[in-house]
């Protein structure tokens, strides 16, 4: 695996080149936050601003969530880790961004750490991949041995529960929700404007964080993300109440993959699984 300092150097070099040559008008990457362990997502617009860029193991944020905020045809370079690259691919599939407008700076890396806890986050809460699935420039050597295991291993405990135990697990977790909406705002796939939760006619859930309303919010959001969640784990990391939202998303992703043989955000030529139809699709959900 390429040294993280070297990745940072490569990022700066490519960002500078891309901005100087006017290939892109903005580079989405990271800058120092209030200290080294708390970096900020950062948009460099000039070669002079490239000096502010950093990359270290705390740069967890999935920058793909910022892509849909730019006007169409903006030429953007974006730094992506493995899961982040899947978000970009999914956004391309959903026609929210165009590949021709993007320069994807891929970062192959294992060992990212949660800025809030300092804990390593890779295997349990993300898609367990090491290399970006799509990139124009790779900022480090491709990682050959990413380690064994599946992103769904972490579901074992939940899957072993019976229905009643699982229901009470999620009831308890959702009852903690305070509706700060950090999960939907951190999510690269939550770009609906307005979100169904902000609609007042009809109102889909109580405005105050009632247990029923929380259930309505989270279940609807989970289903909106069926076949679309790329398993970056940002929702769980953003949650100030430590609700393990990624577990539900992982379960949905696993079901989708089993039934339709396609994981979200892997190839730009794929159609999003929920808008596609094939004769071989599973009928399992109709039974």
């Amino acid at each position: 695996m390429t040294n993280i300092k070297q990745i940072e150097e490569n990022l700066k070099r490519e960002a500078k080149r891309l901005l100087e040559s006017k290939e892109v008008s903005v580079v989405l990457a990271y800058a120092r936050g209030y200290d080294e362990h708390h970096p900020l997502p950062y948009a460099a617009r000039t070669a002079g601003e490239v000096g502010n860029l950093i990359f270290n193991e705390y740069c967890t944020y999935n920058l793909a969530r910022y892509l849909t905020k730019y006007p169409p045809k903006t030429k953007i370079a974006i730094a992506v880790k493995a899961a982040d690259s899947r978000a970009v691919v999914q956004l391309i599939q959903e026609e929210k961004v165009k590949k021709e407008d993007l320069v994807i700076l891929g970062i192959p890396f294992i060992g990212m750490k949660d800025p809030k806890t300092g804990e390593e986050i890779d295997q349990k809460t993300t898609c367990h991949m090491a290399n970006p699935v799509l990139y124009d420039i790779l900022l480090g050597e491709e990682i050959r041995d990413a380690g064994a295991g599946s992103p769904y291993d972490v579901l074992a405990e939940l899957e072993a529960m019976d229905q009643a135990a699982r229901w009470s697990f999620w009831e308890k977790e959702f009852s903690k929700c305070i509706r700060c909406f950090a999960c939907r705002k951190a999510c690269p796939m939550c770009y609906c404007d307005p979100c169904f939760m902000d609609a007042s006619r009809p109102r889909w859930a109580d405005k105050s964080p009632t247990a029923d309303g929380n259930l309505m919010y989270h279940l609807t959001r989970f289903y909106h993300l069926a076949g679309r969640c790329i398993d970056c784990g940002e929702c769980s990391r953003a949650c100030p109440m430590d609700i393990p939202l990624h577990l539900f998303h992982k379960k949905m992703a696993k079901e989708c993959e089993t039934m339709f043989g396609q994981a979200a955000g892997m190839k730009i030529d794929d159609k999003p699984v929920m808008v596609n139809y094939g004769n071989q699709d599973s009928d399992e959900m109709l039974k």
Partner: protein, 363 residues
């Protein structure tokens, strides 16, 4: 600086009648039980990775080994959701009853100095602005705040900046009783009459010695050696700077570019008090509820016409900073931020209000 107009809590005790007690940490459970008998007790509880204030049901849940809670204890006076009126809709009109305001005396144990100060700031808005909020007032009047000094030997969290707003690690202001840790003991001193009478009624406490008192006073003095992040600001100067920066859109856009527009910072904040009121009805039965709202939400300023005066994130973030550091100064005479660092620590993308205030102060 905060408090330039003086405290609303005027009943500070006189020096000669000091009530000063102590208890060993091993007997914390006894103290908790004794406090619980006085009414609902709110205290820090560890749940997973986080420590937060909770209404105590089990004595053993209480912990005093924490830096600060993820959420502020403001919910004790200003719960996230509160039913104001309950009603049943009828064929014509509705049958409605106001919900009585709970009046049982309660105690909050283990409040850090910045949070104790936040209650006094919120008093200005809920009690001192011409209209008294009966919900806030009732709970404030009936609650004893037991403050708890930050450990002077432990380094402050890098996100904290309470020194900037004139608060120190062992400030007693805003507390009714103030608590300092001395090796295996807790020293408790009455700060207000309310606090003194609570201490006097707790048989579980021992009398403290002159050495204990010297240690307590020394801790309060020594806290000036605890250094959080600091930038020199005065309330009127920063208020004026912010007004001056309002039209400088590029600066605000740049400072808030990474903000994702969630409401986490306002929900964890001890001095954010914005709320919404809504009727929530199911099968003709319902309640008129008040619940926390956040100026960071798109629909906070959305008007019925569809017009939104603050459609963009930088406008909403600017509003938040201007409210705390400018409009609150003009209207209530103090900055409405206690530098507890919660918004920075909980921000999903590490936006730091201190860095923004510092930048504006140096414009």
């Amino acid at each position: 600086m905060i408090g330039s107009k003086g405290s609303l809590n005027a009943d500070h005790c006189e020096k000669e009648k000091v009530v000063f007690k102590k208890i060993t940490l091993e007997k914390l459970g006894d103290l908790v039980s004794a406090l619980k008998e006085k009414g609902p007790l709110y205290a820090p509880v560890r749940d997973g990775k986080a420590v937060n204030f909770q209404k105590i049901t089990k004595t053993a849940d209480v912990t005093l080994d924490f830096y600060n809670t993820v959420f502020s204890p403001k919910f004790v006076f200003f719960p996230q959701t509160e039913d104001l009126i309950r009603y049943t809709l009828q064929k014509e009109g509705a049958q409605a009853e106001p919900v009585p305001i709970a009046a049982s005396p309660s105690v909050i144990l283990g409040v850090r100095p910045c949070d104790a100060k936040s209650f006094e700031i919120m008093d200005r808005h809920f009690l001192g602005a011409g209209i008294i909020d009966p919900y806030w007032k009732n709970r404030r009047d009936n609650t004893v705040v037991i403050g708890y000094a930050f450990d002077p030997a432990a380094p402050p969290d890098p996100a904290d900046f309470y020194n900037t707003v004139g608060i120190h690690a062992a400030d007693t202001e805003g507390s009714d009783v103030f608590m300092v840790r001395k090796d295996g003991e807790l020293l408790l001193k009455g700060i207000t009459k309310k606090g003194e009478s609570l201490l006097k009624g707790l048989a579980v406490l021992d009398a403290a010695s002159a050495q204990d008192e010297a240690f307590f006073d020394e801790t309060i003095r020594k806290d000036r050696g605890v250094k959080t992040r600091f930038t020199e600001i005065t309330d009127t100067a920063i208020a004026a700077k912010l007004v001056g920066s309002f039209e400088k859109q590029e600066i605000w856009e740049e400072m808030t570019a990474s903000c994702i527009g969630c409401g986490t910072c306002t929900f964890v904040c001890p001095t954010c008090y914005c709320f919404d009121i809504n009727d929530e009805t199911l099968f003709r039965k319902g309640a008129r509820k008040r619940f926390w709202d956040a100026c960071m939400f798109t629909d906070f300023t959305l008007e019925a016409s569809g017009h939104n005066p603050r459609p963009r994130i930088f406008q909403r973030y600017r509003q938040k900073v201007c409210h705390k550091y400018s409009y609150h100064v003009t209207k209530y005479g103090c900055i409405s931020c206690v530098g507890c660092g919660r918004c920075t620590r909980s921000c999903p993308v590490n936006i730091d209000i201190f860095s923004i205030v510092e930048k504006v102060a140096n414009l």
